[in-house]
């Protein structure tokens, strides 16, 4: 998720990980008061390592990871899917939140990034819950669907990957996640660009992604198979509950 604005004429998108007007409210307050004091050590270490990575901007911020953990514990989720892993910050958060016999199938095209985070997952004692699969998510999800035993077998799914594919992942996940289960989509506000006029200056990439995200939001809002809730945490997180 590289930022735009290299030539200076286009606004930089995603320069920080919040949609709040006040960076101080986010960094100095929400993070310092509520989030970071409760962040497990292994997650902190992984976060610091990831922040130094050239693609560090892709990682879920700690307030979002805290929300994921809360959702997993509140719903008693046991079997989950994660599409898009990067170095594994949200994966580690998930694994820590799941019960001891819980499982997360985690899919990413880039196993090298995952290898950076794997030691932290192991050190945290939760590696046994993680089933990492390298490759394209569309293919891996199709493979899961090929076995009928997987239909409706999952409690929870978190998607933080290539935005234009979200609408396809949605179709697959709606068959894998059980009725009453939860699907969470990340970056659904794309730094607020979804609300900008169509001719607002932005990089070509951001324009493309912003359009894909707008399309996703419209589709989810109209999808009678789910109830939706769009939160302004991080870069916009949409929670869907499967009802049909």
């Amino acid at each position: 998720m590289a930022t735009g604005g290299r030539d200076g004429s286009v606004p930089v998108v995603h320069s920080d990980k919040t949609l709040l007007r006040s960076r101080n409210l986010y960094k100095q307050y929400v993070l310092e008061t509520t989030v970071l004091p409760n962040e497990p050590e292994c997650m902190r270490e992984l976060r610091i390592l990831t922040d130094n990575h050239e693609k560090g901007i892709m990682a879920s911020p700690p307030d979002e990871a805290q929300l994921l953990q809360m959702l997993i514990k509140l719903t008693g989720a046991k079997t989950t899917i994660e599409v898009g892993v990067f170095t594994g910050y949200s994966l580690l958060a998930t694994a820590l939140a799941l019960p001891d016999d819980g499982k997360v199938i985690a899919i990413d095209t880039n196993p090298e990034y995952y290898e950076l985070g794997r030691p932290f997952i192991e050190k945290a004692g939760v590696a046994h819950k993680v089933d990492f699969r390298a490759g394209l998510a569309l293919q891996h999800l199709d493979e899961l669907l090929a076995d009928e035993a997987n239909h409706g077998a999952f409690d929870f799914a978190f998607v933080d990957a290539d935005k234009p594919s979200y609408v396809k992942y949605h179709e697959q996940l709606l068959r894998l996640v059980r009725v009453g289960g939860v699907l969470v989509y990340d970056n659904t506000l794309w730094d607020g660009t979804v609300a900008l006029p169509p001719d607002a200056p932005m990089s070509d990439m951001d324009r493309r992604i912003s359009a894909a995200v707008r399309e996703l939001n419209a589709r989810l809002a109209a999808d009678g198979r789910v109830e939706v809730c769009q939160l302004t945490i991080a870069d916009g997180v949409t929670i869907c509950r499967r009802v049909v």
């Binding site: 307030d63 607020g192 809730c229 769009q230």
Partner: protein, 263 residues
């Protein structure tokens, strides 16, 4: 959302800032959503969310209640539509059945709750002002969910203390939403920690207090914001340090802190 006598006196002062005087010298109040609009980077973004994901899904009864409330002079106290949707989702996700609401105002979050819980679900709802509740009650009745509500007029602390006298009430609530007088949140918290079940959820509203929690003490701010700011800051610190709960602070509305009881 309830208001203590002090907060009630302070609110119209804030609403007065939005009032315009028309040709006859009468004051007309303009609806203003103080909390949530100002927290996000852009008002357009908030409008986008409302129009894309919230309003199309908002049940008719909630829309009616929201419109009735918009005409009320203290309407900035109301729960916003996006927050109502969030509460509704949350309640369904946790399968809440026995719930409580401290602070009702005209009942928008109360209706969101009543619609989410099952047919035999219950809400013990408390507010010092029955009149405001009765403003929204017709919408709740029309929605067919008024039978789930047990409304008690008056301050909440005595009701909570009375509940605690009976052991059967300890650890019996699935969910509590607190949207009331900020100077009493910590007092509510102490009692709710005994009334909410293990794994149960408490939601505290307005915990970002218009963003004022991060401003220096001498920054310009509305009187009622300044009055309660220290209480909110103290609450947030206390919740973060309270090992009986796991917490999550979300920028929904004016900031909502979810607390899951673990001890």
């Amino acid at each position: 959302m309830a208001s203590t006598a002090t907060e009630a006196a302070a609110q119209p002062a804030a609403a007065a800032e939005q009032q315009q005087v028309n040709g006859n010298g009468e004051q007309k109040t303009r609806h203003s959503e103080v909390g949530h609009k100002s927290l996000l980077k852009s008002d357009d973004l908030y409008q986008y969310i409302l129009e894309t994901s919230v309003y199309p899904r908002e049940p008719e009864s909630m829309k009616e209640l929201r419109e009735v409330t918009a005409k009320h002079p203290w309407n900035l106290m109301t729960t916003s539509a996006d927050e109502g949707q969030f509460l509704n989702m949350l309640l369904k996700l946790i399968g809440a059945k026995k719930t409580m609401e401290i602070g009702v105002y005209t009942g928008y979050s109360l209706l969101a709750t009543a619609l989410a819980i099952p047919e035999d679900g219950t809400i013990l709802a408390m507010d010092i002002n029955r009149e405001n509740y009765e403003l929204g009650l017709p919408c709740i009745e029309k929605a067919g969910v008024a039978h789930k509500i047990d409304f008690r007029e008056g301050p909440a602390l005595p009701v909570l203390d009375q509940l605690l006298e009976d052991d059967a009430n300890h650890g019996s609530f699935d969910f509590v939403f607190v949207d009331a007088d900020k100077d009493n949140y910590l007092n509510y918290h102490e009692r709710l920690m005994k009334l909410v079940k293990m794994g149960g959820l408490i939601g505290y509203d307005n915990t970002l207090w218009n963003g004022s929690v991060v401003l220096p003490a001498d920054a310009p701010m509305r009187k009622y914001i300044r009055y309660y700011r220290d209480f909110v800051i103290e609450l947030n610190k206390a919740l973060a340090a309270d090992d009986r709960v796991e917490i999550c602070q979300l920028p929904v509305g004016d900031g909502v802190t979810l607390c899951r009881r673990v001890k």
